[in-house]
């Protein structure tokens, strides 16, 4: 039996319950609306800056110094999987439980809300994060993403989620307490519970546990970021120890005037459009390969950054100019194809049906709809069936692909010279 219930707890978090009694486990994700993008906050008409890495720092701090000790160890002793994750938009605390779900859920809510960290805990947390930073320094694509932001946006900054070593070192108790008190207010949280559980029991637990917290309410605002449609820089590159150059075209599309539902629909349409143009059966890809401009698949993706969709199309190639010209021409022609559209729709329908085979695969797109698009609903086959070619074509033709920047990751030659 499957059942969905969405509600807002009085002066508390938004709660989403997805019950599926055919499962053998239950999952809970507690989201706090604080992520790498939060760089400033206004309290009492005063604007405070938040150092890079703060949201991620608090995630570590709460998990490793909870009232139960290190939460990872505590949960693992009970054979419950637990972890935390910080993204650009949110911090997520997650459990996957089999036997003790009710008490595990209670503990999860307490880990996030019933905290008591010390100056010493903060210093210890720094050590783990600096080690994590050391590992991430070898990730080439993280640096490429940074220059993507620098080219695309004037005012939206790269969400440096881990922060730099210098940022991490400056973090102190007062800064952490300040950010925690503001962003970890309970109305700034969302709890998603899924799997095999009894709805009434879980509702009661959530209500009871949250009623124990007496957090003071702090009014705050996030400074509004005004961003132009145009890109800030046309091109930027970085140099890395790689075997072939990597070139990426980034398109910036303003979706400010679209409703949440329209954004969600456009997300599907852009996936269809990019797949038609650039997947391994596409004319463009096959031309690029046969003319030896590239060897590898074309990577393409669509992501939502505030009021923009950003489309990224890239590949490994040493023939930069030809690649850029061909991709840009294909984008600007905006070719769409009815048969292909029907093919993509069928694929979307199959994907939705297949999600049912796994609880994670069912719940994750649901969470994405809620967090990314503010649409409190699960994708249904009927939604896809309703999509029409005329609407798809109109949507694509209405898009402006003129705001584009190019980022490149270029290989360093062995002698230390740059090649590119």
């Amino acid at each position: 039996m499957k059942k969905i219930k969405i509600y807002k707890l009085n002066s508390g978090p938004k709660v989403v319950l997805y019950q599926d009694t055919s499962r053998h486990c239950a999952l809970a994700s507690l989201f706090v609306m604080f992520g790498g993008k939060n760089k400033e906050v206004i309290v009492n008409n005063k604007c405070y800056s938040i150092c890079d890495g703060m949201a991620h720092f608090i995630e570590h701090l709460l998990i490793e110094n909870s009232k139960y000790g290190n939460a990872l160890v505590m949960f693992n002793k009970e054979n419950t999987n637990m972890n935390g994750y910080t993204s650009r938009d949110v911090t997520e605390y997650f459990i996957d439980s089999i036997n003790n779900f009710k008490s595990d859920l209670e503990k999860l809510i307490n880990i996030v809300n019933n905290v008591n960290f010390s100056i010493n805990d903060i210093e210890e947390t720094k050590k783990a994060i600096i080690k994590e930073k050391m590992m991430s320094k070898d990730s080439n694509f993280r640096d490429l993403e940074k220059i993507d932001y620098e080219c695309l946006f004037k005012n939206i900054k790269y969400p440096n989620i881990l922060g730099e070593v210098a940022d991490i070192k400056t973090i102190n108790y007062d800064m952490v307490k300040f950010c925690y008190d503001i962003f970890y207010q309970i109305q700034n949280q969302m709890l998603i519970v899924s799997g095999n559980f009894k709805i009434r029991e879980i509702e009661k637990i959530i209500k009871d546990v949250y009623s124990n917290f007496d957090k003071k309410i702090i009014e705050y605002n996030i400074p509004k970021i005004v961003e132009n449609n145009s890109v800030l820089l046309k091109e930027k590159c970085i140099f890395k120890n790689i075997h072939l150059d990597y070139v990426r075209l980034n398109y910036k599309i303003n979706i400010k005037n679209l409703s949440n539902e329209e954004r969600l629909k456009l997300d599907f349409y852009l996936e269809y459009f990019l797949s038609f143009l650039f997947d391994s059966a596409s004319k463009v890809y096959n031309y690029l390969v046969s003319s030896k401009i590239c060897l590898y698949d074309i990577d393409y993706s669509c992501s939502k950054i505030d009021d923009f969709f950003v489309l990224k199309i890239g590949t490994y190639t040493n023939n930069h100019d030809k690649f850029i010209t061909i991709i840009n021409d294909a984008m600007r022609k905006k070719n769409v194809n009815r048969k292909d559209f029907e093919r993509r729709k069928r694929k979307s329908i199959i994907n939705i049906i297949m999600r049912e085979d796994s609880l994670f695969n069912t719940v994750n797109p649901f969470i994405e709809n809620i967090i990314k698009f503010n649409c409190d609903r699960i994708d249904k086959v009927e939604d896809i069936q309703k999509q029409s070619f005329a609407d798809y074509k109109r949507s694509i033709l209405n898009l402006d692909f003129s705001n584009m920047s190019v980022t490149k990751m270029l290989q360093i030659k062995n002698n230390g010279d740059f090649n590119g």
């Binding site: 080690k131 391994s280 059966a281 590898y296 049906i353 297949m354």
Partner: protein, 422 residues
């Protein structure tokens, strides 16, 4: 000493479930030869990107999409002298997607396997050259990251018999010397002149067997396979310590143990020690190195059953290598204490019991365990529980006493050098 016989059947194995997909497996068993190494990579690229009917990637992939194929793969499993080529097709369940033409998709899959892109007695030259160039670049590219570079260097140090290190990275000349004629010979040897073990995993009935038999000639007979999966590495007289500076930021410490007088019966102990040291946040290694002493951010334990190698891999600060190594040695010694060992076995057993429940919600894990069981690739979760529950503690301690520290490789990054005041 290590050889064993397994008996399988030619008639398809049908494993029924209620998932929304159906999986077909064609598994070709063969004896492994070194000259196959690059050709196996080529076969995967060529067979899954074109066929006799669909001559190029564009036509092939478009047909693939039209048939609503969810995935198609070819994987090679090499276990010492044994090789398994596994073709897998995943398609929607016709009971879920109305009017889905299962037969057309299956026939496409059969053509992928048996009707490749050949011209006369060789593979299509153009396609061959394209895939050779792609693979060459891909192999060189894959070495340009700290994980694969350090791993490869570690294998070169730890493996004095050439069991693990004899891979494509150490045989790049095979790429240059390959040709489309020999590839065709290898294909004939491994596929055309061979017979597969067939499995179907999904919401199907007996009619699926008729469908398969329409396309493949299957006799009702048993198949006996000689398996020789293991070729153990034995400890050297003196541990090898190597420190190497790298151009990457992070530093990686590999600590490798080998087992004195290792034999097939020791595999369960090797697996147990790996699981005690390395399962999750409650594992001994994570608790000791991360939670209790903050020496690492990430650490893991893995073992290679074929060679009998136990490896602890940690990501550390440059000045921590000695202390991390000492702590690892102490952990191994600690397990020689009966009470501690008993407690640890109990903890791992509990964790495995939960894995059995989690497996019920996971289609691929169930499938993996079925194949593992049929081909004796390793222990299923249920088998591990049974074996661990009946382990003799004295024999387990005898095994731990035979674990010998063999190789310590420290791949030293420069992050700490650049940030000395941290």
């Amino acid at each position: 000493m290590n050889k064993e016989l397994i008996t399988l059947k030619r008639e398809p194995y049908i494993i029924k479930n209620k998932y929304s997909t159906i999986d077909f497996f064609f598994i070709f068993p063969a004896l492994y030869k070194k000259e196959y190494m690059f050709y196996l990579l080529l076969l995967k690229q060529i067979l899954l990107n074109s066929s006799f009917l669909y001559k190029n990637e564009k036509l092939y992939k478009r047909k693939w999409e039209d048939l609503m194929i969810i995935s198609e793969s070819l994987t090679n499993k090499i276990l010492n002298n044994n090789l398994y080529l596994e073709f897998r097709l995943t398609v929607p369940n016709p009971k879920v997607i109305k009017n889905y033409d299962l037969e057309r998709a299956f026939s496409f899959f059969i053509n992928t396997i048996y009707k490749p892109n050949i011209v006369g007695n060789k593979f299509n030259k153009k396609v061959f050259e394209r895939e050779r160039t792609f693979l060459k670049e891909d192999i060189l590219m894959s070495l340009k990251n700290v994980y694969s570079e350090s791993y490869q260097k570690f294998l070169n140090l730890v493996d004095d018999k050439g069991i693990l290190k004899d891979n494509i990275y150490n045989n790049l000349d095979l790429i240059k010397n390959a040709n489309e004629y020999e590839l065709y010979d290898v294909y004939n040897e491994l596929i055309i002149n061979n017979k597969p073990i067939i499995m179907v995993y999904g919401d199907v009935d007996k009619s699926i067997v008729s469908l398969i038999k329409k396309y493949v000639n299957i006799k009702n007979e048993k198949v006996k396979l000689n398996i020789d999966y293991y070729n153990f590495l034995f400890p050297r007289e003196k541990c090898k310590y190597v420190i190497e500076n790298s151009k990457y930021n992070q530093s990686i410490l590999y600590v490798a143990y080998k087992v004195k007088k290792m034999n097939n019966n020791d595999l369960i102990y090797l697996n147990l020690i790996k699981n005690i040291l390395g399962i999750g946040a409650e594992s001994l290694i994570f608790k000791t190195l991360r939670v209790d002493s903050g020496l690492v951010y990430s650490c893991s334990t893995w073992c290679d059953s074929i060679s009998g190698l136990l490896v602890i891999e940690t990501y550390i600060n440059n000045n921590s290598s000695d202390i991390v190594l000492d702590k690892i040695k102490n952990l191994i010694d600690m397990l020689k204490n009966k009470e501690i060992l008993r407690k640890e076995i109990y903890r791992v057993l509990e964790s495995l019991k939960y894995s059995v429940i989690r497996k019920k919600d996971n289609k691929n894990k169930k499938l993996d365990d079925f194949i593992k069981y049929k081909f004796k690739f390793g222990f299923t979760i249920e088998k591990l529980i049974e074996k661990y529950s009946n382990l003799d503690l004295d024999l387990t301690i005898d095994f731990i006493n035979r674990l010998v520290l063999d190789t310590v490789y420290f791949y030293k990054g420069d992050f700490n050098e650049k940030n000395k005041n941290i």
